[in-house]
């Protein structure tokens, strides 16, 4: 739908509402309209009643038929009783004869029903009364000619049945009636419909109309008058229609200059002129009808030409508008839009491309795409691979682009193929995603820092357990050292025993060092360091860190790790942090509930091709029903001294790794938390895709 159509639609809607509203609220208006219509109808009928065939209202032209159609098209079928009334009045007031009532009534009904059918068919074929499209005019002409033919045979038939018209004259009478009605509609309907449309749309300028000069109009009117004068001058010799063709040039001139509105008014003027001329000269009925047949052809030609001219004018205006809109959009968008040919040479760009790549347009157009984009050859072959997909289907790539000074920046590029003059071209949309990338990096950094803070506090919470972990080797070291000192001070040196003691001292010192290393690694800085790692050492490290705490709290921890697990792409410290959170949560829950037989089972297995799944199951009280929905939210905790950050940070960590952390069981036999990590192959697959 073009903007113009939208505007038309908006303009039309309130008018229609007003139309339906007036039926109820404005009875006076309807009455005035009815009286006006019937009066006009009778006036037209009277004026056009010339050379009536058999004296029953079969005239060379019937403007009343045009009037009836206008009413039905504009006001709707509910005004059809007025048509019937007009027909009945006119039939009953014929000046020459007084036919019996039966055929008058029958004829009127047939005529009314006939025009109602024509209007119904037109509506069904989506005829628009504003005649904007040339197809509307064509439709109107065809419907008029067929419809009035049917009305004519029905009308004449009803008089023939009544015996007013002899059956022998049926064909002739029907033909005359047909031509009369058809010319009446063709001449009167278009100007009245256009006038109506114009009045209704007076607020908006009518598009597609040519320049409107009174001088030109006057010359054109004069040309019609001149042509008519020549036609009636008798210069055509014996045949009265000899010079009729002279009426074509002025009509065609007017139609090409003013479109349908000009053509329709010109046709009406010519018709009035012809009728007047013929009346003045007093031609025979036969001549009159011959003129009307020619007139029908003239009118159809003029109207169709006018309609085509109007439509083309409107389309060209719309085209200029949409071209303007397109240019405005291309100039305004911040994305770079460019077209290239199949070899990668740039053909057209929008201004954003110049800004994006910091190059003036003369250094872009005709240049190769590879001067701008790092992987342009790959991109082109990728585009060619996509050749079998539908032409309009767009593809998206993340690439690096270059500025003239050599600096690179990340872009997102989408491309679509289109064929122009049977050669392939590509339209590319380029977006600078530097800011987005930076924001993503910042988010990752924040997440890593948050995880670090929480890890340090976690280490603090575990201090008691870690102190015990250190005091064991220290106790052993002191004991061995003291023993060695005593041996050295003793009377008999015992080298073997001394050696054993010192070896143990070293081993225990190393054990203490390991504990410190683990702790230091755990609370190290907040960077996100992903590496290809096996999952087992991470689980072992986490279980080791809580080992002594578990002992103190009477908790038995078992790890069941599938030995064939694939490597994963992960930050081991962050994964260890998640495990520690889950392990300590489990211990806290079991201690708070005073569970008998406290145990935790850590399992790791591979449920499918793409994931490694790690579960932490406890034998505690499970998770309370009302906690399920909020357990992963920050600041939600059941612990008296808890911050409520552990699970929320754990979930953020796992999601940053492309996995999921969920509560898999919450029953009274204990809670199970499961998290997944994508395998290294899966990650590689995603990057490649």
């Amino acid at each position: 739908m073009t903007t113009e159509e939208v505007a038309q639609h908006i303009r039309r809607t309130p008018e229609q509402t007003a139309l339906f509203g007036s039926r109820i609220s404005n009875g006076w208006r309807t009455m005035m309209l009815s009286i006006g219509y019937v009066a006009l109808y009778l006036a037209f009928d009277r004026l056009s009643f010339i050379g009536a065939l058999h004296g029953i209202g079969i005239t060379p032209w019937s403007p009343t038929a045009g009037l009836a159609m206008v009413l039905l098209i504009i006001k709707g079928l509910r005004y059809s009783p007025l048509i019937l009334a007009g027909e009945l009045f006119s039939g009953g007031m014929l000046p020459t004869v007084s036919p019996p009532l039966m055929p008058i009534f029958l004829g009127s009904v047939v005529v009314t029903a006939g025009y109602m059918s024509v209007v119904t068919v037109l509506r069904h074929l989506r005829f628009e009364a504003d005649l904007r499209r040339s197809s509307d005019t064509v439709l109107l002409l065809i419907a008029t000619i067929i419809g009035s033919g049917l009305v004519a045979s029905g009308f004449v038939g009803s008089y023939a049945v009544s015996g007013v018209v002899p059956w022998s004259a049926f064909a002739e009478a029907g033909f005359h009636y047909w031509i009369g009605d058809a010319i009446g509609i063709v001449v009167l309907l278009p100007p009245l419909l256009l006038l109506y449309t114009r009045i209704k749309q007076r607020a908006a300028p009518v598009q597609g109309r040519g320049s409107f000069h009174f001088g030109e109009i006057a010359v054109q009117a004069a040309s019609i008058v001149l042509a008519l004068a020549v036609v009636f001058s008798g210069m055509g010799g014996d045949h009265p229609l000899g010079l009729f063709y002279l009426l074509f040039p002025p009509l065609i001139w007017i139609a090409t200059r003013h479109g349908l509105p000009g053509a329709s008014w010109a046709v009406l003027a010519i018709q009035v002129g012809l009728i007047t001329g013929l009346q003045v000269q007093g031609h025979t009925e036969l001549t009159l009808r011959a003129f009307q047949l020619f007139m029908l052809a003239l009118a159809a030609t003029g109207l169709m030409l006018g309609a085509v001219v109007s439509e083309r004018r409107r389309l060209s205006v719309a085209l200029v508008d949409s071209e303007g809109l397109r240019t405005a959009i291309l100039n305004t968008v911040s994305d770079g839009i460019l077209t290239i040919d199949a070899c990668g040479a740039i053909q057209s760009i929008n201004p954003a491309v110049e800004t994006l790549f910091s190059r003036p347009s003369h250094r872009l157009i005709g240049h190769d795409l590879s001067e701008l984009i790092e992987d342009a050859p790959d991109l082109l072959s990728g585009l060619k691979l996509a050749i079998h997909s539908p032409a309009s289907q767009a593809r998206c790539w993340a690439l690096d682009a270059r500025r003239p000074d050599g600096t690179a920046f990340p872009i997102e590029l989408s491309a679509a193929r289109f064929d122009l003059l049977s050669a392939q071209h590509y339209a590319l949309v380029v977006r600078d995603i530097t800011f987005r990338r930076e924001a993503e990096a910042r988010d990752r950094q924040h997440q890593a820092e948050l995880a670090h803070v929480s890890r340090v506090s976690l280490a603090g919470e575990m201090a008691a357990g870690l102190a015990h972990e250190l005091s064991q080797p220290l106790t052993a070291i002191i004991a061995y050292t003291r023993g060695c000192l005593r041996l050295l001070a003793g009377p008999v040196p015992e080298p073997a025993l001394l050696h054993e003691g010192m070896a143990e001292v070293v081993q225990q010192a190393e054990r203490a060092g390991d504990v410190l290393d683990r702790l230091r690694e755990f609370v190290r800085g907040g960077e996100f360091r992903r590496a290809l790692i096996a999952i087992k050492p991470v689980i072992d490290a986490a279980v080791n860190l809580v080992h002594s705490e578990a002992m103190q709290r009477d908790v038995e921890i078992k790890a069941k790790i599938d030995p064939s697990l694939p490597i994963v792409l992960a930050d081991p410290v962050q994964i260890e942090q998640v495990l520690l959170n889950l392990l300590r949560n489990a211990m806290d829950a079991m201690e708070a509930a005073n569970t008998e037989g406290r145990s935790i089972i850590v399992e790791a297995w591979r449920p499918g091709q793409y994931d490694v799944e790690i579960s932490v199951a406890d034998s505690g009280p499970g998770v309370a029903y009302e906690m399920i929905d909020t357990i992963f939210e920050p600041f939600v905790t059941t612990k008296p001294l808890g911050m409520g950050m552990g699970l929320s940070i754990s979930r953020a960590i796992i999601e940053a790794h492309g996995g999921q952390l969920r509560l898999a069981r919450r029953s009274r036999s204990g809670a199970i938390f499961i998290f997944t990590l994508p395998t290294a192959e899966t990650e590689a697959g995603i990057d490649a895709g």
């Binding site: 008691a464 102190a467 015990h468 005091s471 064991q472 080797p473 220290l474 106790t475 052993a476 070291i477 002191i478 004991a479 061995y480 003291r482 023993g483 060695c484 005593r486 041996l487 003793g490 025993l497 054993e500 003691g501 143990e504 081993q507 225990q508 054990r511 002594s548 002992m551 103190q552 038995e556």
Partner: protein, 207 residues
């Protein structure tokens, strides 16, 4: 010198063996066990003397539970608790349960040896009373509620007939209860039992 044997119970191999190494170098006979159960299975109470270095936290049976067992069984060996995470409530609980001493890891040799030395030759009246009371309480905890009722009435010096009437049970039943009580409390005689009840009663306000 059997009276100089030091028993060590610790689940941490390095600590256990380190203590054994040091104490042997210091001239003690050392027997080390990785768990409370291993100690209970191998210790012979009749040999007498010695002392027990006992880790508080251990899987399965903790040090405190082992001490309860010693009390119930009437094995009078001085217990020195060693712990890596000593807290005041834990120390009080251990001392009330009859511990001889309570030492935190990492151990200071001098403090440990001093404590072991005292334990080997204890003639500490206060410790003895504490141990006695702890032992009696551990044993009394094994009595059924009915037996405890009977025990309290015996302690007031009532004859069996009065006790039977008072509790609404038969004379025979009271005699049966009394036999059980004497057995569980490891009393040598009725007067010993009455003495025990007085010790326990005196300790009540403390608890």
């Amino acid at each position: 010198m059997p009276d100089k044997t030091v028993f060590v119970v610790d689940d941490d191999t390095a600590v256990r063996q380190g203590l054994r190494f040091m104490l042997r170098a210091a001239g003690y006979g050392v027997e080390a066990f990785p768990s409370a159960h291993a100690f209970l299975e191998n210790y012979d109470p009749r040999q007498g003397g010695g002392c027990l270095l006992l880790d508080v936290r251990m899987p399965q049976m903790t040090g405190l539970e082992l001490q309860q067992q010693l009390n119930v069984r009437g094995w009078r060996i001085p217990v020195i608790f060693i712990t890596g995470h000593g807290t005041v409530p834990l120390a009080i609980a251990a001392m009330k349960a009859g511990a001889f001493d309570f030492i935190e890891k990492p151990l200071r040799e001098a403090a440990l040896l001093e404590s072991i030395e005292r334990a080997q030759h204890w003639n500490d009246k206060a410790y003895e009373e504490r141990l006695e009371r702890a032992a009696l309480e551990s044993r009394a905890a094994l009595l059924t509620p009915r037996e405890r009722d009977v025990f309290e009435l015996i302690a007031t010096g009532e004859p069996n007939k009065v006790i039977a009437r008072h509790l609404g049970i038969s004379f025979r039943t009271v005699e049966l209860h009394r036999a059980h009580i004497i057995e569980k409390m490891k009393a040598r005689s009725l007067s010993d039992l009455i003495r025990m009840s007085m010790i326990i009663r005196n300790s009540k306000p403390i608890a």
